[in-house]
Amino acid sequence: MIAAVGKVYEWEIAKLLAQKRTYLGLISAILVPIVFVVVLVLQTGGPNDVPLGRYIRDTGLAAPFVVLFFMSIWGLPLITALVAGDIVAAESHNDTLKTILTRSRDRGQVFAGKVLAVLTYTFVVVFAMGLVGLVAGTIAWGFHPLTSLSGTKVSPGHGFGLLVASLAVYFLPLAGIAAFGLMLSTVTRNSAASVVGSLMFALLMQLLGVLPGTESIRPYLLGTQFEAWHGFLRTPADWVPVIRAFWVCALYISIPVAAAYLVFLRRDVASQ
């Protein structure tokens, strides 16, 4: 069973690596922090009103956090949706579901392989963006202590640990968007509709969070979870938003994945 899913997963990754949209997503995730750092090196102003924005030129460690902040609005959701929205729809488009579903793998195993592949891509995108941002920032401004959100100085080594932890937590809401994209991809069988739909979902989640009168639901919106990493950058660390991100995102991930699973298991693989 696990070996069977493993083989499907392996080939789902191979298929992603053979498609242009995967590279479009990955290259965007890498280019954005580089362009961001280059622009800041060439200019004098800075992103002073975003978390850690004021310290951007103090240390390369601040750059990835600032980039993450900007990219959470639509950049990373779009990069994620690009692949998640296509993962099942592409099979419909190429009419290849009938080819893989007439072998020895159950539909559940094929689906599981696809979910894991999408999550892997999302994970790689987040870490690629964060780590490239760190390297670019370090080249520009050096690897110095980071000023935390509480105003205390954090050693570069510790700062790096905080960055990795922050990227891991940042991955969670993005996985929620990936799950939503995967669901649309399964249900609509249309790649473009799924990409646009997931982006709309992400924007709606952000929008709900800034509308007046939504304060009570704000902690449970997907968009809010993109800020959960702020908890790590306080002294002492504030675990409340981090723990909330875990369970809130678990819901945002599992509900669409379960829905997509049921549809995938039962759907007729017929000509459209």
Partner: protein, 312 residues
């Protein structure tokens, strides 16, 4: 494997909204059969095969492949089974070799070790590193066969495998099917080409508007369809007068200068002697069998109710 029938489908129904695509179809394919599933466009052949392969759910009815129901056993029901519906499809951005490797990873067993041998069999070994996106229809069709054979099937389900192929491609495909059947693989092949089914199959089912109108041995069908004899003579009018006077002769018609009539062999022998005695020359006196084509047209268009009843 076991002793269960390769295919046993009972009362299959598939509704698409109001449309009855398949209407209470029973199919029985026995070990060693090359079973022809014959029907015109839109008859429900592909829909039936999709149900057999577990790609779509029957609205009603039951299916067993070697005793296993695809709706219950899932992919396990396809153990020993391979095939494709409509044109075989592949990932266009992967090469043929990579596509086959992918499919081998989706198989239980040792599919991967057969890839090279099968690419050679379908004469794609020199094009195996090209992306399938650039393949012609015929190449894809051949790759589809290779993909199916990777599984070392005991039962092959092929949906119109020769459609869209040029004459040489058709011949090669049919030779291959014959060869595979010769190796003991049971084949269910759908077709709208009567010659193909006549050439390859021992048993047939004819489907029309979702319903089976005939199922049985091919030669029984052809025997039922024996329609009589045809006579050509330089003196057709005298021959016709003599024929009408002869006992045991029924339904005489003139078609294109020759006479067609129903008779048993004895009556025909007697008639030939009478012709000689009357000094009426004969250029041809031959038995005629309705081609499957004629039968098929009769059944599928419902023009010749008689034939339909005769074979039902």
């Amino acid at each position: 494997m076991n002793d269960a029938l390769p295919v046993s489908a009972r009362g299959l129904v598939k509704l698409y909204g109001e449309l009855v695509a398949v209407d209470h179809v029973d199919l029985t394919v026995e070990k060693g059969d090359v079973f022809g599933y014959l029907g015109p466009n839109g008859a429900g052949k592909t829909t039936s095969l999709r149900m057999l392969l577990g790609l779509i759910r029957p609205t009603e009815g039951s299916i067993e492949l070697f005793g296993r129901d695809p709706q219950v056993a899932g992919a396990k029901a396809l153990t020993g089974v391979a095939g494709f519906v409509e044109g075989p499809t592949f990932y266009p951005y992967l090469t043929a070799r990579r596509n086959l490797r992918l499919l081998a990873a989706y198989d239980d067993g040792d599919s991967r070790s057969r890839i090279e041998e099968l690419l050679e069999l379908v004469e794609l070994d020199d094009r195996g590193d090209d992306k399938v996106g650039g393949y012609s229809h015929g190449m894809r069709q051949r790759l589809g066969i290779a993909a199916a054979l990777l599984r070392e099937p005991k039962l092959l389900l092929l949906d119109e495998p020769t459609t869209g192929l040029d004459p040489a491609g058709m011949r090669d495909m049919r030779d291959l099917v014959r060869r595979l059947a010769g190796e003991g693989i049971t084949v269910l092949l759908s077709s709208h080409l009567l010659t193909e089914v006549e050439e390859l199959c021992n048993r047939v089912a004819i489907i029309r508007k979702g319903r089976i109108v005939y199922e049985g041995q091919l030669h029984d069908l052809l025997a039922t369809a024996a329609t009589g004899f045809r006579l050509r003579s330089p003196e057709p009018d005298r021959a016709k007068a003599l024929l009408l006077a002869q006992p045991g002769i029924g339904e005489v018609t003139s078609v294109d200068g020759s006479l067609r009539f129903q008779a048993d062999e004895e009556a025909v022998a007697a008639f030939s002697i009478a012709l000689g005695q009357a000094r009426i020359g004969v250029t041809a006196l031959v038995p005629e069998t309705a081609s499957l084509e004629e039968l098929f047209l009769g059944m599928t268009e419902g023009e010749q109710k008689g034939v339909e009843e005769a074979v039902a």
